[in-house]
Symmetry: C2
Subunit: 412 residues, 2 copies
């Protein structure tokens, strides 16, 4: 008999029929003798509809009032979810974030969970009830409703599982697990049986949209085992677990790509001490994060300097850089939006040599020029022309994964 947190995303509760489907799953797990806590998102489309209503009123809605408005989406879903379970003869009680309570800081629309009180939940569980908790929302110490940002329900679920010391947390979604690459790009992509938090974090922040980053951080910090699976099938999904649970530290767990970055190049920068600092301080002051910095070898006292910023920051970055370029006497600023970043991620990279060399080799073989490189302990990323993205991902997948032996689901 386990304690399980089951989280259902927006598509999994997108209609009364789907809520019924989700409730049936919950009822089955309860029947098997488990204690269940449900976390539900708003019905698919609700949050977007409320946001566009708010934007009709105020182009930049007051964050505190926006949270007040958006929190109703989950509240409706949990009430309907509880009613559905009750109709099936299962004892269930819905709870808003403030009723649990899930205490957050006061940064509206992207609040962070500070503490979770478990007394009420434990009391309900001990009386045989299934608590249906509204995901995505919390409350400040002062009693203000907050929301956790897009995908926040994942974080709610993992945090609740941590607070309750649940055996594991199931994330029911519209994909059936985590793949070695985006199956729409790589038809041979395979579902992973297990992936470490660290690997998932690199994949999530690099473009894999399965889980909110913060929820994985939470899982990692508190050691919550997370099972990502489809709400429309009985199949096992993928487990996100502590590194220690993964026996085989393969070099490359997955390949991912993102085209949400833009490359800037400042041409003919005078190669003097303090110049680079001036450029990056100006961007830092505007809260613009910079990645993949490349500086060419100095020729006649001049150098070219390139780096990437997120596409959201690009217009502001351009403005700032053109001002700075004038000040430091650089020739001009070039902006290249037609780039994308492909990455290979894997825990085993720490001990395996030659991953970088092999990656460059694979790209070179396909005549794909590498514009910049960045690395972490368990990741290597290359910036390439955007048109080569899919080709690069497929080629890297073939080289690192299809021709390698790893513990995929079904392999054993």
């Amino acid at each position: 008999m386990a304690l399980i947190v089951q989280k259902f995303g927006g598509t999994s509760v997108g209609s009364l029929e789907r809520i019924e489907n989700a409730a049936r799953r919950v009822a089955q797990a309860k029947k098997r003798g488990h204690d269940i806590v449900v976390v539900s998102s708003a019905m698919a489309g609700t949050t977007d509809r409320l946001i566009s209503l708010a934007k009709e009123v105020q182009p930049f809605p007051n964050p505190r009032e926006l949270d007040m408005l958006l929190a109703t989406g989950e509240q409706q879903a949990i009430a309907l979810f509880a009613m559905t379970l009750q109709r099936m003869g299962v004892k269930a009680v819905s709870l808003c974030g403030w009723q649990v309570p899930v205490i957050t800081d006061d940064v509206h629309t992207k609040a962070r969970i500070k503490e979770i009180h478990t007394r009420k939940l434990k009391e309900l569980l001990s009386k045989g009830y299934i608590p249906i908790v509204a995901g995505f929302q919390g409350v400040t110490k002062e009693g203000e409703i907050t929301t956790l940002g897009r995908g926040g329900s994942d974080t709610s679920a993992v945090a609740l599982a941590a607070a309750l010391k649940a055996d594991f947390c199931e994330i029911y979604t519209d994909v059936d697990g985590i793949y070695t690459a985006d199956p729409r790009i790589v038809p041979n992509a395979r579902k992973l049986e297990k992936i470490a938090y660290e690997e998932m974090l690199e994949l999530a922040s690099l473009g894999a949209k399965v889980m909110q980053i913060r929820s994985v951080e939470f899982g990692s910090k508190y050691g919550v085992r997370i099972h990502v699976r489809s709400s429309f099938s009985e199949e096992e999904g993928s487990w996100i677990v502590p590194e220690e649970e993964i026996m085989e530290k393969i070099a490359v767990r997955g390949i991912t790509s993102t085209d949400k970055e833009v490359q800037f190049t400042i041409v003919k920068v005078p190669d003097k001490p303090g110049i680079a600092a001036k450029i990056f301080k100006a961007l830092g002051d505007a809260h613009i994060a910079v990645d993949m910095i490349v500086q060419t070898v100095s020729v006649n006292g001049y150098t070219d300097m390139s780096f990437t910023v997120s596409e959201n920051d690009a217009p502001l970055a351009k403005e700032i850089l053109e001002k700075v370029a004038k000040e430091i006497g650089a020739e001009k600023v070039l902006m290249d939006p037609d780039v994308s970043k492909v990455s290979v991620v894997g825990l085993g990279m720490r001990s395996a040599y030659g991953v970088a060399g092999k990656m460059f080799d694979v790209l070179a073989k396909h005549n794909i020029n590498i514009k910049a490189i960045s690395t972490s302990e368990i990741r290597i990323s290359c910036l390439i022309a955007r048109k080569y993205t899919e080709l690069a991902v497929r080629a890297l997948h073939e080289a690192f994964i299809e021709n390698d032996k790893v513990n995929f689901v079904g392999d054993k």
Copy 2:
């Protein structure tokens, strides 16, 4: 400089344009130097839509979960209302019932307000904010969301005005005041400048749909002056005030009718002690309220007994009465749904003689037969055949109001 509670009903906030119209009114009052607390209903149609969604899940939805679901309607409206005021440059903060808090008992879907904490509201007012409070909802001491029943936002508003000792409470609605009779029936009906709580209670419970009865009771109990007016015009509406404020205690303030009752007649009841008790106890045990009792003169030890019950209770009443009739040896039970109750209401009735006589006379003149009579201190009601309803109301209006001099708006 006054403290005013302004309540906007569902039609007054039925679209973003209407919320804007309502917000403009609030902003104007604020600009004139008044302190304002807004109470808002859900946008028109929202509550009905949520109820039918719930009924799709459970034909008789769990009341606790229904309250959880319905409370989202007002929460959405207040967030949008606050945003609208903010866009106009007015400081505003929305508050759910539990955030005020408005403490109620735990009778879900028809909870009663127990206490209202004013600390937070007063703090916001003192900082120049306009609190936008969700009507219709409250919270139990245990932190459960409750709702106050249909029209509950009126009660929220009047109760808040009482708790804050506001100068008065404005009820913005889609009618422009309280009339001497339903203007759809009586084209000559006139808008009342003032009406006493007691009169309004009799009118409200007899079919005038302007205000929820409980809100008027609240106003009466705490002496809250209530101004019922249209949100679509600048015109003065009608004031509901303490009796003392009404100088002229005219005999008849208004005429009203209701066709929501059904008349039962038990034919040939043995005229013995305890028989009537037996009949009415059986109905009372089933929580069926009885009105307008008539007993014919006993003939040969038998009598006929008539009374009315609400049409909702009629099917159950019929079942019970047929059983009781058999037990007591009565001949049969007749049910007449084609009746309606017309009433004249006025404080002055206490001191004016002859109102009843004049009423019977007017009905007789139009050949309208009186099936039963009931009275209170300030009301006389006659049960008549339903087809005569409008004729009776018009005739009584003409006799008591059009041919009488009273303090109507515009008369002065």
